[in-house]
Symmetry: C2
């Protein structure tokens, strides 16, 4: 079919039962893994690939869409499609929030351990009205005032994470939590100073396709999956004192958890 004659043996067989665009995605993926297209370099343009493989540009575009979802390539509009080169970052929940290691920079430490240049930007620190969801997580009434600390973290100037923390205003009002630098021991240190000692943490992890806003902030494609972590710090008396919502690209991060094998505590939430 389609004028395919003697070239049948020389060009890769993009035919047959499986959809062409999936076969092409597999082919391009293998070229990336073999470093025929090395990390950081531009792939051939879509018209070039279309000509090489004997399909329309739309089909190439769709194949590349699969590679984008999987995080293999990143498109720069008008400039070309580039092979990605960021290694995975491990987020060790327990180490991260372990009493010893705390500081301003759990995320920064993770990035640095991989030889990446970390940075954290604060976007907003101040009181707001709690959304229904945040209020429910903090066990306060919807619309009550909460302190929000919105941060963005970067590795080699590439955005890696959105992290928004919320505290009941009754706790945060007039405290060092309103400052950008919360000092030695970080926000949990300051909470402890005020008598709110963390007893345990919970995290609820979901994964979903990134929203449009998240794509903007994290520089993701609109078809890439993200992790959303709802992190809650509880006192021993089972009062939530902080809720943090983290959103991060799933293709960059691995989440690590660790726990002892023992009967769960008598508390039940």
């Amino acid at each position: 079919m389609h004028g395919m004659t003697s070239s049948e043996r020389t060009r890769p067989a993009i035919q047959a039962p499986r959809a062409r665009y999936t076969q092409i995605a597999d082919l391009l993926r293998s070229r990336i893994e073999d470093e025929a297209y090395p990390p950081g370099t531009a792939m051939p343009s879509e018209p070039e690939l279309a000509a090489e493989l004997g399909v329309s540009r739309v089909t190439i575009n769709r194949a590349i869409g699969l590679l984008r979802s999987a995080g293999y390539v990143k498109v720069r509009r008008g400039a070309g499609t580039y092979v990605r080169s960021i290694p995975r970052i491990v987020r060790d929940a327990r180490g991260r929030y372990g009493a010893r290691v705390r500081g301003t920079g759990a995320a920064d430490a993770e990035a640095k351990s991989l030889g990446l240049q970390p940075r954290t930007d604060y976007v907003e620190i101040g009181p707001i009205q709690a959304s229904a969801e945040i209020a429910s997580l903090l066990h306060i009434r919807s619309g009550a005032t909460v302190l929000v600390r919105r941060r963005r973290t970067f590795a080699n100037d590439e955005p890696t994470q959105i992290a928004d923390s919320y505290y009941p205003w009754s706790i945060a009002k007039g405290s060092p939590l309103l400052e950008m630098d919360t000092g030695v021991g970080g926000s949990y240190g300051r909470l402890a100073d005020m008598g709110y000692v963390v007893g345990y943490f919970t995290e609820d992890v979901t994964a979903r396709i990134a929203s449009e806003a998240e794509c903007q902030i994290l520089d993701l494609d609109s078809t890439q999956p993200v992790f959303q972590i709802i992190h809650t710090a509880w006192t021993e008396e089972h009062t939530p004192i902080e809720v943090a919502v983290h959103v991060m690209s799933a293709s960059i991060w691995t989440l690590r958890y660790e726990w002892e094998d023992q009967p769960p505590p008598s508390r039940r939430r």
Copy 2:
């Protein structure tokens, strides 16, 4: 543009800077959330929607592709596109593996608590050659023999999870782990009988687009994200005695973790 005259006010405005297919996806999503398209029912066909919204069928198809990725709808080839109705299932890692609660059915208990009809199928139980990855996780040499137990779990006959557990053959050989029913206390109970007592667990969580094989087994679209959990059971002496790989649809599951706030143990892996 495009023959749009007096109907401009009556039909939704699909125009303007944003791509049409994203606007259409938003529109359809809101109709699903408002139950204009109730759960379990068929959406209008693609040609119908194309006529209603004044766009080509390809554009409708692309919009529906977004809803599929997000798990809002499920397509039955040749029959139509149906609104999804499965609730989220929470997987509490600690409770799940807590020494008290163990049995054959952690996944089953989770499903049952939501009023869903659980089922677990065993696909394979027997010795195989370890892949490089599994061997590395079990701290044995690549190609060594391991016992694999491959299971599939279901809720209301819909597949929810792939779970493959691996044990060093030196431990598993001739043991009750070769049986389908491992009895009271499950596989960890039998390991303990043999002197391999679990000290702690680790889980490495990633999320990615489902592979073709996983789409088949889990009845997913090829653009939907899945969780992959690498679960390892360790003795107090830091020897891995079981590795389990779980793959599950991200749009169905929420993963829950909980831990005490204390300095991490001295061990470091």
